[in-house]
């Protein structure tokens, strides 16, 4: 197939109708799709241009902050409420890509972004994500950028989103719709273990759209932040990153959540590890024990071992900083 059909639905309903036969591909900002198309990835028969649908609203209530899937990365990062109530989201978004890309990329597109593994991107290699069942070259010849957490026999590619890590740490909820149904699930259930859903890496069915991300409002005293480690100072994916949300009062952790990026096949969080810190004082020892639990199922190769030390260092640094230690 040498070409592709474009449809431009005027409403969410017509867009969902155009996706109902599972042949069409929704296109919002288009940055991921055009990039992969030029890499020689298979074209869908139909592009459904959703970029002008009315899914770009931000709705605030006392209990939650709901962002339409078509809100741009830039708009969300710069939103006054986000900067004050959820700085981890602003920091995560602004640390990612470049302003040009953040302007074009949508929230829905960001959480749906695909891995950067060269074996996936280039069609020269076997790749279970690009071509289910064909194999995984990264298993044979891993690179420094491959994952140490969430790896399966199917895939060890890192999920590259910064924003998704911040959203995970904030217990975000994903709203989805098809032509006949609407539902929501926690972001923690949105990402699937590689291989679990065939080639699907998310719980979004082929005939559905993400319509919004809802973020429960945290307690106002809570502090949050994002720390991203990488080889050059900007415009690069994370070697390791941490999104932390912390309520530390009277030298005790009252609430904590920590998401890891750059090191896992999906945004990573271990609530069992977080519970170890609740009620505790934060110091080098307690943070070390937390890291031990957070990283305990790390699957490390010689090429990727550096990510352990960097992830640990980043967790220490950001928790100390948020706790003003």
């Amino acid at each position: 197939m040498a070409s592709v059909e474009w449809v431009r639905p005027e409403s969410v309903e017509t867009a969902l109708a155009a996706l109902a036969d599972r042949v069409g591909q929704a296109v919002a900002g288009g940055t991921t799709l055009l990039d992969l198309l030029k890499m020689g990835h298979r074209l869908p028969e139909r592009f459904v241009d959703i970029s002008r649908l009315p899914l770009d609203q931000i709705v605030e209530t006392p209990g939650s902050f709901t962002v339409g899937a078509l809100v741009s990365n830039t708009a969300l990062a710069n939103h006054a409420v986000v900067r004050t109530a959820f700085p981890v989201i602003s920091e995560a978004i602004l640390s990612g890509a470049s302003q040009q890309i953040r302007n074009a990329a949508t929230i829905g597109g960001n959480i749906m972004q695909v891995v950067r593994c060269p074996y996936f991107r280039s069609t020269d290699w076997p790749c279970n994500l690009r071509s289910p069942g064909s194999g995984c070259e990264a298993m044979r010849a891993p690179l420094h950028s491959h994952a140490i957490l969430g790896t399966t026999a199917d895939c060890i590619a890192v999920h590259p989103s910064d924003m998704a890590v911040a959203l995970l740490a904030l217990d975000a909820i994903v709203h989805m719709r098809t032509a006949v149904a609407a539902w929501m699930i926690p972001l923690s259930e949105f990402y699937l273990e590689p291989g679990r859903g065939g080639e699907a890496r998310t719980a979004l069915p082929r005939d559905a759209l993400v319509t919004a991300i809802e973020i429960p409002r945290p307690v106002s005293a809570i502090r949050s932040g994002y720390l991203k480690l990488r080889g050059r100072a900007s415009y690069e994916f994370a070697t390791a990153s941490v999104a932390a949300v912390l309520l530390y009062r009277n030298e005790r952790v009252e609430a904590i959540s920590v998401g890891l990026g750059g090191v896992a096949t999906r945004p990573w969080r271990r609530q069992d590890a977080e519970r170890l810190l609740v009620g505790r004082k934060l110091d080098e020892g307690s943070i070390d024990r937390f890291c031990d639990a957070l990283l305990d199922d790390a699957d490390v190769r010689p090429e990727t071992g550096h990510k352990l030390a960097l992830a640990r260092g980043a967790v220490h640094r950001i928790l100390r900083s948020l706790a003003a230690l």
């Binding site: 070409s3 030029k38 830039t74 302003q99 040009q100 890309i101 074009a104 100072a233």
Partner: protein, 158 residues
Amino acid sequence: MADALTIGLTVNGRGVEVEIDPRRSLLDLLRENLGLTGTKKGCDHGQCGACTVHVDGERRLSCLQFAAQMGGRSVTTIEGVTGDNGELHPLQKAFVQHDALQCGFCTPGQIMSALALLKEGCPTDAAGVRELMSGNICRCGAYENIVKAVQEVADGLR
């Protein structure tokens, strides 16, 4: 051409109607369909910033924009920055004065990016400017002078 789409958009203030391949990028529309070669193809995969243009006033990478999604949009390229009488924009003048270029290939993208930054609200510190310009790579290394040029114009606007 089979499967061609016709889209209408505004480029540098003029309405145009173009027949394009549905797979075409905005960059190739500008360069190949409209002959506006000031916007450069440095990598074609959104990794260098040389193709930066404004879409509805926002800076975007034209190599990662489907032309098919540009219907009804307003695009500004480097050719639209110089005045009709050849008058340079203050930022272009500052680039010249500060030698904010060497080979010149990344320059249109740097200027389009910086013009948008000035509208977004330019940080007052050099580190902030550098961070928000980091999507534009310059292999010749004119970085410092680019930042000086941007800061001079930003200071002038404040």
